[in-house]
């Protein structure tokens, strides 16, 4: 089955609500009949061995087809939360459920999640094709079907013809594309991205933002995207989840009610500026709250 035909086109940003602690209103009730939850984070606390409270009482639902950004200052626990969502980190207390079931189903076929790291995280000794095929190799999937998936993933991220290049021969943007292609070959339902474009220049970043949006729509993914950038979060997301530091916690959940596909024109629209202001104010409030708690 091809990547593009494996999933229906993404639903528009769904009118879902989350069980979430807000700054202004304590609990927003969940609306019935929305898309099914992909991840349910319930009252998750994460305390490191040195006593640092990385997460305090995180409540978050991610639903099928959403593009959710986790936004906040350094040290607010957004990467920790993302890693917990990927099953890469334990929680101290609380519960995380995937596809309304417990942890063990994460690796089940057809319900796969993929993770794109802050750096491209490619194997420097392996050529691009070998890097992209890694998840399939690890699951012992080979043959013409696997090859076709690798070809298609490379094609979709614009790296066709670079199969035999080594990572060092690629630019930073191309390395990130290879990293995204590697995530794509598994045909994931859920894509978790941890500040994937943070180290790139603005032009490359904007281009990759458009590419990710296009792929999200084509493949019907659910995406959780960690970023520092208000502009990036607003441009990409159907929801922006704002987090505050010390202790790391979720403080706001802002829905970006703009239709997809979003063109670069959206970046210069008054709606975009309005959403950016709203998110920035929320961040500002969150940081003030953090300072008030300082001794």
């Amino acid at each position: 089955m091809s990547l593009s035909s494996a999933f229906p086109r993404a639903v528009s940003p769904p009118g879902v609500a989350t069980i979430m602690q807000r700054v202004d209103d304590p609990i927003e009730p969940e609306k019935p009949g929305g898309p099914r939850p992909i991840i349910q984070v319930s009252d998750v606390h994460k305390v490191y061995a040195n006593g640092t409270v990385a997460l305090q009482g995180a409540e978050l639902d991610i639903r099928q087809g959403e593009f959710v950004s986790l936004l906040g200052p350094s040290g607010c626990g957004k990467s920790t939360l993302l890693r917990i969502m990927a099953g890469l980190g334990d929680v101290t207390t609380g519960q995380v459920r995937w596809w309304e079931q417990n942890y063990d189903v994460v690796g089940d076929k057809g319900r796969k999640l993929a993770f794109v790291f802050q750096n491209a995280t490619l194997m420097p000794w392996a050529r691009v094709r070998k890097n992209v095929s890694l998840p399939l190799d690890l699951e012992h999937e080979s043959g013409p079907q696997a090859n076709a998936r690798i070809d298609e993933a490379l094609q979709m991220v614009g790296l066709k013809g670079f199969d035999n290049a080594f990572p060092r021969e690629l630019s930073g943007g191309m390395q990130m594309r290879a990293s995204i292609a590697r995530a794509m070959v598994t045909e994931p339902n859920l894509l978790l991205m941890d500040e994937p474009f943070g180290a790139l220049d603005e032009m490359t970043r904007n281009k990759l933002n458009d590419d990710v949006l296009k792929l999200w729509q084509q493949n019907g993914w659910t995406v959780v995207f960690v970023t520092h950038s208000v502009y990036e979060a607003v441009y990409l997301s159907s929801r922006v989840v704002v987090m505050a530091a010390r202790p790391g916690r979720i403080v706001d959940d802002i829905r970006i009610e703009q239709p997809y596909p979003r063109s670069p024109d959206f970046r210069v629209s008054t709606e975009f500026a309005g959403y950016c202001r709203q998110v920035s104010e929320s961040l500002e409030r969150a940081s003030t709250m953090g300072q008030e708690k300082q001794p």
């Binding site: 890693r83 890469l88 993770f115 790291f117 995280t121 194997m123 000794w125 690890l138 060092r168």
Partner: protein, 267 residues
């Protein structure tokens, strides 16, 4: 138009040290001749070359004996070193329990324990090999263990997301990632294997058919054949340089596509 030879990095890499060496030899010869230093105190390079030509048969036989010990010791050190590293990375407990003993081997002076080893092992050649292995094995253990542990944590997380076996993790991730460290260990270890072989020969004082270059140096010293002594020393030095060059070549071949150490920088 092709670039001048002096701008060719490969040429300069060879020509620069050779040039320095030639200048040193010319100065040495000039000083020895001008000061009329007797050959039994300090022979000039031409006298050493003469000894090399005159005694080439006995010197080559001795070189072969030393080389056999060096190669055997180096091969065993690689096998033992890599095996120990693979064992150490299985658990921190194993590493913490055994690594101090690896350090113990490194810090114990080989001249102090060589006589014991020579007494314990009847076959002199094998006794020399054991001494040289003790000298050579530690850099391989230390570097390879460090390399096998120095894995990109994100790549490791990815492997674990796919629930890979420890075997897959080792073959696909840890071993390729440790190669630069391993080859760094080989560069140090190859020289130490030679030094270990020579030091053990000195202690053993093996003569006859099993006489290596160290014995040749001892014997020449007793007979005041200082030119021959220098000739043997020259062969040991050249062997060390060639071994090192082979390790550098192997490392460059293995890492040239991806590791910074083997990629030439273009200005």
């Amino acid at each position: 138009m092709s670039a001048p030879l002096i701008q060719n990095e490969q040429f300069v890499r060879v020509a620069a040290p050779v040039g320095v060496g030639l200048i040193f030899l010319v100065l040495w010869e000039a000083v020895v001749t001008a000061a009329q230093i007797p050959q039994y105190i300090l022979p000039g390079p031409t006298a050493i070359l003469g000894a090399l030509i005159q005694d080439w048969q006995s010197l080559l036989t001795a070189l072969w004996v030393t080389l056999r010990v060096t190669f055997a010791a180096f091969a065993i050190a690689v096998i033992v070193g890599v095996a120990a590293s693979l064992l150490f990375i299985q658990s921190r407990w194993i590493e913490m329990s055994l690594f101090p003993y690896a350090i113990l081997m490194q810090v114990t002076p080989i001249v102090a324990i060589a006589p014991l080893i020579i007494i314990w092992i009847n076959d002199t050649t094998w006794a020399l090999v054991v001494c040289a292995v003790i000298m050579a094995v530690f850099p391989i253990i230390s570097n390879t263990t460090l390399g096998l542990r120095s894995v990109d944590p994100n790549l490791l997380s990815m492997f674990r997301m796919y629930r890979t076996s420890r075997w897959q993790e080792l073959i696909r991730l840890r071993i390729p990632g440790s190669l630069p460290y391993f080859f760094g260990g080989l560069r140090i270890s190859s020289g130490l294997a030679l030094i270990g072989a020579v030091v053990a020969e000195f202690v053993a004082g093996t003569g006859g058919a099993k006489a290596g270059l160290a014995y040749m140096i001892l014997q020449s010293g007793y007979n005041l054949q200082i030119s021959k002594m220098f000739a043997a020393l020259f062969l040991i030095t050249m062997t060390g340089i060639i071994l090192f060059a082979i390790m550098v070549w192997l490392s460059d071949r293995a890492l040239r596509n991806w590791h910074e150490s083997a990629i030439s920088v273009e200005h």
